[in-house]
């Protein structure tokens, strides 16, 4: 159980070896305007460009120490998800290197690995394996996962019959119990009903206190300030700040204000 003393304990700056090393990484996307022969001909005839390239990340470097919890901040489209995808290995950088220590698992989307035609029970095994757990590990954690998600009664029902709340609870619960060395969380804490959300945040705090490395994207700045050791702020694909999480939060606030003003 998490007592207040543990909380401050958890916030102590860990001093270990680096767990995530992002060095001078750039990522460029190609936006194709035309895919079909018809569109291509029309565009060629009008002398319009067939595609455009877009730099989602410019020379970003970031080192996360083992046990550190880092908040990634920035407006929509600033490259937070792209950075997390590079760290998880879903995408590869065009320039620079990304290296990690240990197993990375991400909650980049709630329930990407859940299959609607399978039952809750089958999905725990499938999604657990997708997130990198071994069979023995899943069996060991099965009861904890089910208890946390609170879908016991529907365990043998196909997931397609779940309410969206139940669906997300099960998905989060599986991901939060995979115990990776590096845990990536992208905007999934906003889902679910408030009590479950509290439970998720408590679980993340627990993971942090166990000394797992985490990178978190969320929109709730006070929560991030409370949870994280460090804040990193991205603006249009560039890292503009790396340091105190409260300071990063206020930079983000300023960006948000500037955007809504314009």
């Amino acid at each position: 159980m998490t007592a207040p003393t543990d909380l401050s304990e958890g916030k102590r700056v860990p001093g270990g070896p680096p767990a995530v090393v992002v060095e001078d990484v750039s990522k460029r996307f190609t936006l194709r305007h035309a895919r079909s022969i018809k569109d291509i001909t029309v565009r060629l005839a009008r002398r319009q460009a067939l595609s455009e390239s877009f730099d989602a990340l410019h020379h970003v470097s970031l080192t996360v120490t083992q046990g550190e919890t880092v908040a990634l901040m920035g407006l929509n489209g600033s490259g937070k998800s792209t950075l997390l995808k590079l760290i998880s290995g879903v995408m590869s950088p065009d320039a620079g290197t990304v290296r990690v220590r240990g197993r990375v698992a991400g909650l980049l989307d709630v329930g990407a690995g859940l299959h609607p035609e399978l039952t809750g029970r089958e999905n725990v095994f499938l999604n657990g394996a997708i997130l990198g757990m071994s069979e023995a590990e899943i069996k060991r954690k099965f009861d904890t996962i089910v208890e946390f998600s609170g879908v016991e009664r529907f365990l043998d029902t196909e997931v397609k019959f779940y309410s969206s709340g139940m669906f997300m609870r099960l998905a989060f619960s599986i991901a939060a119990h995979t115990e990776p060395d590096i845990f990536l969380i992208d905007e999934v804490l906003a889902v679910g009903d408030p009590p479950f959300r509290e439970k998720c945040i408590a679980r993340i705090r627990e993971l942090r206190d166990e000394g797992r490395t985490m990178l978190i994207v969320a929109h709730d700045i006070p929560m991030l300030v409370d949870l994280c050791h460090r804040g990193v702020m991205l603006r249009r694909g560039r890292k503009i700040y790396d340091g105190d999480v409260a300071e990063a939060g206020s930079l983000w606030q300023a960006d948000k204000k500037a955007k809504s003003a314009s």
Partner: protein
């Protein structure tokens, strides 16, 4: 581990001082360059990674089989119906109406031994081609060896193939067939050729489909022709008698032609009355077909491993 659901309350107040601010130590760190435990999060690709993820492959196979027949009365039984209908159509149209029954002794066995292989090939290639694109949500969000998806397609087809093979054996036995050592060994090589060829092409087409969705249509159309381009409903002698010699030679280069002939050699050959002579130089062509299938397998694997790095951003 207990869940701390009740303790998520007030924020911690007694926070320790924050991390040293935006110092260069967060930037390029030379120290880490030689650390052997730091590795790239993305795998290098290749089928060896599938071997390391055997358990997940098993679950994906189970998912495929379950999802495909979910809510149907017949379930896995449907995988028997499709080849059965196929067989009946070919048997009555080509065998009875067009008289192939009289040209080829024990035509049903001749037909079915080719049909099981052709079905294995087309099913594997078609579902492997779709496999990556159809798993887009996963490919975009989670790093997995992407080779898992075409591999699972192959396994599903093999699950369908095994009962068909059992029926073939039972049917051949009822016609008086007795296995021969070379026949069975040859059939095993024929199966290997089809598996390697289908998986290699499947990897190639699956990767290409991510970039050009048209590939899926092209593969479907080409698969319509497979039953007619291998000696399944006609004997090889028809090609010899009706086509120029160079065309026969090109036709015989197709690994599927050799694979089907190997199955004929194994399951129908012992029943043959010699009216259809055995195809010439089958041993040499087996070697060349196996080489060709291996080549496609390695090319498919290498191309897929290269292209899979760009899958997530292209879908």
């Amino acid at each position: 581990m207990t869940t701390a659901s009740q303790n998520a309350g007030p924020a911690s107040t007694g926070r320790a001082p924050a991390v040293q601010l935006g110092s260069p130590r967060h930037g390029r760190t030379v120290r880490t360059a030689a650390d052997p435990e730091l590795r790239s999060p993305a795998g290098r690709g290749g089928l060896m990674e599938v071997v390391h993820h055997r358990y997940l492959l098993k679950l994906l196979l189970r998912r495929e089989l379950k999802a495909r027949y979910k809510g149907s009365l017949l379930g896995l039984g449907w995988s028997y119906v499709r080849p059965a209908v196929n067989f009946a159509v070919f048997y009555f149209v080509v065998g009875v109406f067009m008289g192939m029954d009289k040209v080829i002794k024990d035509f049903p066995i001749y037909l079915f031994s080719g049909l099981v292989l052709v079905t294995l090939f087309t099913e594997t290639l078609q579902s492997a081609t779709r496999s990556v694109l159809h798993n887009a949500p996963l490919v975009r969000k989670v790093y997995l060896p992407r080779e898992l998806f075409p591999s699972a397609s192959l396994l599903v087809s093999l699950v369908h193939f095994l009962p068909a093979l059992a029926i073939l054996v039972a049917g051949a036995l009822s016609y008086g067939w007795r296995p021969t050592l070379t026949g069975v060994a040859g059939a095993a090589v024929g199966l290997l050729i089809v598996v390697l060829f289908a998986l290699g092409l499947g990897l190639l087409c699956a990767a290409a489909t991510v970039f050009f969705h048209d590939v899926e249509q092209v593969v479907d159309i080409v698969m319509l022709t497979i039953s007619w381009t291998v000696p399944m409903v006609y004997p090889w002698t028809h090609v010899r008698d009706h086509a120029p010699r160079w065309l026969l030679q090109i036709w015989q280069l197709n690994p599927l032609v050799s694979a089907v002939e190997l199955f004929h050699h194994g399951f129908w050959g012992p029943l043959s009355d010699g009216r259809i002579p055995p195809p010439p130089a089958l041993t040499a062509r087996t070697v060349s077909a196996l080489g060709c299938a291996l080549m496609f397998f390695f090319i498919g694997e290498a191309v897929f491993a290269r292209l899979q790095r760009r899958f997530a951003q292209e879908m």
